[in-house]
């Protein structure tokens, strides 16, 4: 199938290309400084305008969009929680009807878990990780962009449904048979299930990007043993996403299938089982909470290192703790099902496993506290959030140990005690470190410093407001208040805890508002940030604030766990990388030795177009199964156009157009 003529012309072409290859401009002693910066800027910047905006493949732009979108959903989900708290402030209240309240708590939980918590962690990672490991971009940049648009469309679909008064009302966990065709007629539960599909496909794509970036694109010399703890945390998290999210994609698809085409996966009357849902859901659901928590431990490690002026004590122990938490978290899910009447012998295993998972986390806490003790802590706003995290999260961890015990859980499950527990671990354990991390990396992302004063006020407000809002819920649960109730009777002693919770929630809402105001105002009024305002150790601080679109003028070489603290102002770098086309250096997985020079794709609108086609497929399949084969065609066309080279001319070195 290859004629002699073709082979001959290819050989001629190869000789020409070889000659051209020698003329390619590369960075190095001959091309550095301002001249290099100008050429890299021209090569790496994306086209301007709306089309350019939709075609970006820059991890920093995509990461920023994730973060901003997630914070908007935080605000929306938070507003819902204020409405819920207003309804619950008094007993027998009819401020909000039962039906509407059920929509509110479903939207609150779904928004917080799927549209805020996981995406914000992904967004920060997509922004920071390539910088902190010393590379020019994330791998698979177009997949990265696609994952953002899918996430956005999923969130818009859910909130669009809310605006159109078909919001889901079956809880964020949507147990059948309640969420099945018989007891939830209409399209509300389908909207929920399809939002899952959007966000899970998006998260899986982002996870593949993160795993491959962390394993293959690290700077030369950044062996796994020298990798920042935040990168370890995100590696573990990305692998966890890959192993856990298919479970919820599967069970939510089975739910849509039961509702739309008459399957009986969850229908006990036809040999199905409602518990099949619970097993699959919680197989995802338990690792999910660690997917939210472990990135926060990465934030804590980074912040403690910088503000205590030394690397984290016992780095190998922290790495082992991250990995073992990730693995163990897959063996706990039945602790969400202790009240379902499964064999007691099996439950004992899950009690033991659920308690065991506290050990690696306890070790991480020791290591952070040891670093503080052995170092010289400075309590800037990020470090304050770390202290708030320790004080708050540990309480949540300990109430978690309590509910791991079956006899305790049978009283406490499905009550406000559990609501208190998971808000302590999610807000204390993830949101506090997140606010610290956003403050910490704000100068790198925007080039300005946030207001220290507003930050301190905001910290104390959210810390104290949180305790007021959520501690009384432990009491309310033990005094008989179940979850997911739109009101409660007077005379059970629930009035006082609920009123306190409502007041606390209002304080927390104000604190979040203050943080947002700080973030927005500082964009215009904040002090200009130098490259390295905190005098930190990791590579993202070796470039400007904000970084140029190509991240680093030269790719650094790493020789320790704290590179910037150990190079005495002179950063070793490699040379020879292309300047007139986008190129990324791939290194080996364990030892980070230079391996391959990989072309990076040009900006492309096809990820956006594919996401639109996929979105149309997902949304229309809520209404008819035929949407799947029909809707798959535009998706296939868009994906083909994405992959197909836009210029078939052979280049001296490969480019991806």
């Amino acid at each position: 199938m290859t004629s002699k003529a073709e082979l001959q012309s290819i050989e001629e072409e190869n000789r020409e290309l070889e000659k051209e290859r020698a003329k390619i401009a590369r960075d190095g002693p001959d091309l550095t400084g301002a001249a290099l910066a100008a050429r890299l800027e021209r090569t790496w910047r994306r086209p301007p305008g709306i089309v350019g905006w939709l075609s970006t493949v820059d991890h920093k732009e995509i990461g920023r969009r994730y973060i901003v979108t997630a914070l908007i959903f935080l605000a929306l989900g938070g507003a819902l929680s204020i409405l819920m708290r207003l309804q619950l402030a008094r007993p027998d209240s009819n401020l909000i009807s039962a039906a509407r309240y059920n929509e509110l708590f479903t939207m609150h939980g779904s928004t917080m878990m799927f549209l805020f918590a996981v995406p914000v962690m992904e967004g920060v990672a997509l922004y920071v990780i390539p910088l902190i490991i010393g590379t020019r971009n994330g791998t698979f940049p177009r997949l990265n962009a696609f994952s953002y648009y899918l996430y956005l469309f999923g969130g818009l679909m859910l909130w669009g449904a809310f605006a159109l008064n078909i919001a889901p009302d079956v809880g964020w966990f949507a147990y059948p048979p309640l969420s099945g065709p018989e007891f939830s007629p209409g399209k509300r539960a389908d909207v929920w299930a399809q939002m899952i599909t959007f966000t899970e496909v998006s998260a899986l794509a982002a996870a593949v990007v993160l795993v491959t970036t962390i394993l293959k694109a690290r700077a030369p010399g950044m062996t796994l043993a020298r990798m920042p703890l935040y990168a370890w945390a995100m590696l573990v998290v990305a692998v966890m996403i890959i192993f856990s999210m298919p479970a919820i994609a599967l069970c939510s698809s089975m739910l849509i299938s039961d509702r739309l085409v008459g399957t009986h996966f969850y229908n006990a009357a036809e040999h199905g089982d409602p518990l099949l849902w619970q097993h699959l859901f919680w197989f995802f659901g338990h690792p999910e909470v660690y997917i939210i928590f472990l990135p926060a431990t990465g934030f804590v490690s980074v912040i403690v290192e910088t503000f205590c002026r030394r690397p984290i004590f016992a780095y190998p122990v922290v790495v082992l703790a991250l990995v073992s938490t990730g693995i163990l978290s897959f063996g706990l899910w039945v602790h969400h099902m202790f009240a379902t009447g499964l064999p007691r012998v099996g439950y004992s295993f899950y009690t033991a496993a659920s308690m065991t998972v506290a050990i690696p986390t306890g070790l991480q806490i020791f290591c952070w506290l040891a670093t503080m003790w052995d170092g010289r802590p400075r309590f800037a706003v990020p470090m304050l959030h770390v202290v708030g995290f320790i004080v708050t999260f540990v309480i949540g961890g300990l109430t978690g140990v309590m509910v791991a015990a079956v006899p305790l859980d049978l009283q406490l499950h499905d009550t406000y005690f559990v609501v208190a527990h998971f808000h302590y671990v999610l807000i204390g354990g993830a949101v506090f470190p997140l606010l610290g991390a956003l403050t910490y990396w704000y100068p790198k992302i925007t080039g300005r410093m946030m207001s220290e004063t507003l930050g301190k006020i905001g910290f104390w407000m959210i810390f104290l407001g949180f305790q007021l809002a959520f501690f009384p819920m432990h009491i309310a649960g033990m005094m008989g208040m179940p979850r997911r109730v739109y009101t409660y009777p007077a005379g059970l002693g629930l009035e006082l805890p609920n009123l306190l919770s409502t007041i606390g929630a209002l304080v927390v809402a104000l604190a979040v508002l203050l943080f947002v105001i700080n973030g927005v105002v500082s964009l215009y009024r904040g002090a200009i940030a130098p490259d390295d305002p905190w005098d930190a150790a990791s590579l993202e601080w070796a470039t400007s604030s904000p970084p140029p679109v190509y991240n680093f003028a030269h790719i650094p070489v790493v020789e320790s766990r704290t590179p910037l603290w150990d190079v005495d102002g002179e950063l070793p770098v490699v040379t020879g990388l292309r300047v007139d086309d986008k190129e990324q250096l791939l290194t080996t997985v364990v030892d980070a030795e230079p391996d391959v020079r990989e072309p990076i794709p040009e900006a492309s609108p096809w990820p956006f177009i594919s996401a639109v086609a996929t979105g149309v497929l997902f949304i229309s399949s809520i209404f008819s199964p035929w949407a799947i084969p029909v809707g798959a065609i535009p998706v296939a066309i868009a994906l083909t156009a994405w992959f197909w080279p836009k210029d078939m001319k052979r280049q001296p070195e490969p480019v991806i157009i």
Binding site: F183, R309, M355, D374, H413, M478, S560
Partner: protein, 340 residues
Amino acid sequence: MKTKRVTAATLTLQLGACSYQTYQSDFANAGVEDRQFLILFWIFVAVCVAMYVLVIIFLIAGIARRRRAGDANVVETGRHHQSHPLLRGGLIGWAALVSTGLVGLAIASFFADRTMANAAANEKLSITVTGKQWWWDIQYNAADVSKTMRTANELHLPVGVPVRILLRSDDVIHSFWVPSFVGKQDLIPGRDTDVSFTPTKVGIFRGQCAEFCGVEHAHMAFVVDVEPYGDFIKWWERQLQEAQPPSTPLALVGYNYVTTRECATCHTISGTPTGGRVGPDLTHLASRHSIAAGTLPMGEGNLYGWVEDPQSIKPGSKMPTIDLEPSDLHAVVAYLETLK
């Protein structure tokens, strides 16, 4: 007739348990199982508080430690890759302490679990509770079939006697929870689960569905009346009796309506031609403490309100609002009040 909506506050006052705050509370300590729970709970609290105090002490030590200028292992002294020698031992000690603590708590948990399982092993009383949106269909089982008895939304139990409640669901997942006695168990369609416990205090208690089951999940409660054994047996025997025939003309009109019109499609009153199984058994409705699964306290005004317009009190419940003529309403309520 102006309907009088009495709130659940009046219900709670009417229930008048020994301590009004603990008749739906883990702290009631009114059952063998709840007592075990409380013991285990306080053990866990003690150990967890101790661990928390240690963490806070370490945190404060780190914040408040006096460091001499050249001493710290920080980047400014160039010793940031070294650590204080005490810390290694501290880490090992901490790991050992946490592990030991957790093992101890796990063992305590297993013991409590086994104690509870043994305590309820010799149930003398068997009840089947079927959860429905949004009420509890209750059947008292007996070896002698003629003694089985159906009621709704209210349990009477003899104090000190172990009881086993078989749990089923006809529609969605519910959860049977009466915190004063025992932990909860789910009612799952297609599965049989059960909960066993022994109430130890006489009094009136309240339980509530604890698994989100739809729009009126918050109004799916039930009352548990724990009585001395003799009173309990008398109650059971009264429940076995058929409904009294109507004795006043107004009640007769009501009887005719109830047994021949809409009510009979869903409800049963034994001793009458009604046979509906969709809704609660009404044979001894007026002897119960509450209406509509704990939503309203029993009373004439509330009966009026409920019969006239259930959808405004419990919107979404399966009992439709029927446009009754005022005369029919009076008659029906008059008849229902005779169902003691």
